[in-house]
Symmetry: C2
Subunit: 643 residues, 2 copies
Amino acid sequence: MNTKNFIKTVPMEQVEVRDSFWNRYMEVVRTSMIPYQWKALHDEVEGATPSYCIHNFLVAAGLKEGKHGGCVFQDSDLAKWIEAASYSLIHHPDAALEKDLDDLIELIGKAQQPDGYLDTYYIITGLDKRFTDLQNNHELYCCGHMLEAAIAFYRATGKRSLLDIMLRFVDLIDRMFGPEEDKKHGYPGHEEIELALMKLYRITNDPKHLRLAKYFIDQRGQSPNYFEEEGKGRNFYWANSHFKYQYYQAGKPLREQTVAEGHAVRAMYLYTGAADVAKETADEGLYQVLRTLWKNVTRRQMYITGSVGASDYGEAFSYDYDLPNDTVYGETCAAIGLAFWAHRMLGIEPRGEYADVLEKVLYNGTISGMQLDGTKFFYVNPLEVVPEASEKAYVYSHVKPERQKWFGCACCPPNLARLIESLPEYAYGVREKTLFVHLYLGGRADLRPQGIPACLEVETQYPWKGNIRMTVRADQAEQWQLALRIPGWCGKYALRVNGEAVEAAVRDGYAVIDRVFRDGDIVKLELDMPVEKMQASPRVREDIGKIAVMRGPVVYCLEEADNGPQLARIRLTNAPFTVTYEPELLSGVAVIRTQGEYLEGDWGEDLYRKAADEKWIPKDLTLIPYYAWANRQKGEMRVWIQS
Amino acid sequence: MNTKNFIKTVPMEQVEVRDSFWNRYMEVVRTSMIPYQWKALHDEVEGATPSYCIHNFLVAAGLKEGKHGGCVFQDSDLAKWIEAASYSLIHHPDAALEKDLDDLIELIGKAQQPDGYLDTYYIITGLDKRFTDLQNNHELYCCGHMLEAAIAFYRATGKRSLLDIMLRFVDLIDRMFGPEEDKKHGYPGHEEIELALMKLYRITNDPKHLRLAKYFIDQRGQSPNYFEEEGKGRNFYWANSHFKYQYYQAGKPLREQTVAEGHAVRAMYLYTGAADVAKETADEGLYQVLRTLWKNVTRRQMYITGSVGASDYGEAFSYDYDLPNDTVYGETCAAIGLAFWAHRMLGIEPRGEYADVLEKVLYNGTISGMQLDGTKFFYVNPLEVVPEASEKAYVYSHVKPERQKWFGCACCPPNLARLIESLPEYAYGVREKTLFVHLYLGGRADLRPQGIPACLEVETQYPWKGNIRMTVRADQAEQWQLALRIPGWCGKYALRVNGEAVEAAVRDGYAVIDRVFRDGDIVKLELDMPVEKMQASPRVREDIGKIAVMRGPVVYCLEEADNGPQLARIRLTNAPFTVTYEPELLSGVAVIRTQGEYLEGDWGEDLYRKAADEKWIPKDLTLIPYYAWANRQKGEMRVWIQS
């Protein structure tokens, strides 16, 4: 494995975001979602399904009487909230919030068992059953999330309180799982702990953390199948479905897998953890397995919005090129998982395709999962919605035309919160003396801890404009390389340093400027950002004859609010597009307008007729960014438009 | 109600079929399906799911030890077999088969309880529970089917054996159900007995049979809801689904219903029975309710093949204009039910639209449910099939690319058998001195018992040719009217009597020749039968931009066997069609050929691209009749083709 390609992430601590697009989201998360979810975790939101999160910890700690409430993996909601809240503290110290966190962690500590065990479900319902149903009961998954929370809190505050708690739990897990004969040879039914252990390893450098993560990944799907053995006599739904153990990506060892199958969030988390292990162990073979899976996912099973997991049944991958727009699942969490995975792949090799997918899913299929004000959420992210269909026809009934307040199984909202609050970490990477800019975020990055003797200040109105202005701040002049991502969607760009055009070789999607940078140097990148009509491969039968509209990384859609009902009757023509930035609309979006056509014809009571020339009448069309749909009134929406 | 419009059916006893299309089907049913199903009912088909039908009757009769096997409505399979076998005897006396029927009926008689009760499920599992779960347990449904069987056997043989058995059961039901205070105010969870009681009434003329049928129809959906009352404390799946009691067409009284909802077969049977009651009681109000439902079904919820019930979930109607081609259900039995209903509506008023739908569903959505040789069957009749999708994606998994041998719940195969064997009954009707020809079947009809002083001999190669030659056979010359259906699909036709063109007024889809007919008069009807491109209303979003090809009543499709895979990449052009009758292909079909185009382009590993001009290359296309698909190799099929 070419370890020389490895890129070190520039951590979020060194990246301040002052970005017109993302700051609004980060502030919504910090000032609205985090406080709202805090209330939700305390069951203080009126009319919402109770979370039971805090309740469960109180009961587990012996401070309250009661039963376990919510899902078996309810602890993870709390963990994701701690993670998001901790990230928010990094650039926004908040004594009250930190105090809440301290108190909460104290409570978590009280719930922890003497041997380190920590999962409220089994603490409350019976510790004798712990680790006996890995397939379904999410203990290792919850541990993973709580580990991520512990690391985030430690990073934000330097406090080891939750980290120490979790180290004790990890020690217990390490004593219980592994290749040794006296240990269980199992692995989680829902992956997550693998990537969390790798985060931990990067802090502790303790080889047992790496070893355990690697064990979980390598042991998965080995014969005899652990879940089958564990579950003898039990009737497991998914293992009995057509997915069989591939629902859990455990039908065979990961290294033998070539196609993404089963539950999409599980798959994304597994691949993310595996990428961490591949990098840390310089395992070229494992990386190539992930390359194959990456190609399968992004070139055959990904919606143009970056959503993955086409099948409602099992919240799962379907099969190559099966990408229905109306019966889609496209879970928000799966899109978030794809962002994690893309970022890890980028850490192994700086390929533009990884960053392109990262950007695509960040600007489309993840944030489509939340209302602009952060109060309502989608689990499912469809590309075509007819409210009447969702209400009346079961096959579309999982597709909601309006976001929901909170979910009984609320995995997606806190997952969005932690993603958005950690966004700065996705922007930059360093390899020796090369700074890779993956995402164009306004703000300032201090690169000195990574060995680049400078800070970079970025000004941009991305994604609405393609102009990026970067100012180098440096104490001394020194030679280093600035590798700027030229997005896959960009056909033409101009690059200037201090006003002078520069020719920069483009390698794998990055234009590299190699020079002595001085304080005050100004690098300007102008990415041409026309409106583009996109087609899907003709293997995608749902999209034949249709066009999706993109501008830069942003996928657009037609919404009933702008275009009236029956969007299926609209087609695009060759009329030009106009782009207008409208600061008041949908928290500020670039709107695309064009003249299309509408299929006229009142057929009265006729259902079928001999074909006649269809009458298409001109119709003014307005397209808005896909992520911003369903923020006005309930109505139809459509990404793929007839042409 | 205008009872003068009523048409009397010319019963199958008077109609001999010598039709190149239907005789083959009737012979397949008689010589293959009936013997095969006999074996199946006896659990003698190797590798097939046992039916348990005979077993259940043996156990119920005390002649065998054992448990009840199969579905709760398993008796109905036997009933439908008796009905089909009886019809076959009408024109093909068969002593051995009749003996089998006699023996079987003797067995049924032995299973009957002293008070007349007859349902093997409750006889075996506990008579104390009978009539306590009308909502789910199909007793009245099974009784209806056995009644139809009894009437068919009586018609075929003149033997009252099964009829008397069933009269006793009906008497019991009549004692138990009705408006009187001491009776149960229930009705069947699955309609069927209503139409069967009306058949019985036409034989017995006993007002209680009419009264009971009418009671079941009128009581249905009244408040308080019987199923809700009956089911207190029970957890009923469908009543808890989004259908609620409308799954059973029992959410409100039939007379308040305007949209077809819920389980499609149930709905068809209810409407059929209600049409019988409306006619028999000259109930204009009820007929208008059925007109409204008819319009809803045929103008908003019917596939071009005549299939109804778009939703797999609940085997049910979806909502207006929701007619997906790939996730469709379109149960064979629902199409059969639509044929029943259409025929009943035609008996109230001779409207061409009723006969058009009858013909459409007979030549398409019903017989598509069986393999040409009658050995394999579809439950689901899709309009678009991709085998890989059916195998790998749950949302299409109910859509089978190959017909199945037999079903655990085998309602469709014996239903097809009885429909096909009774087909002659659908062709003719008489009103005073007018003979209505609804269907063009080769053969001979003796119309004298209905008061038309003649026989009619028909020669035709329908549906492959539009030429119909009818010869009048009469002892004496007399004036009467011959009303020939001019199908809705026919734009041009010529009518000659004894070689001379005649002008006949067309009323509601029938061209009426009013003259003195003499022995040997020859009436020739030439229906122009070009290949037609059909469009669906733009309200059907799945079919926008697509064309279906029809010729005469027959809907065509593209199949992979002729056109290769990826049928979604094919589009029709304006190239002419050629029609060739191929006697060796698919038991003899008219094949349509044309030059279409195929969307070229090997996108390699690309999934999305900036739109470029698409390259469509010429491709020779072969279309076969839809009903005959899936008779060669497993492969794709598509009715609605891009244009």
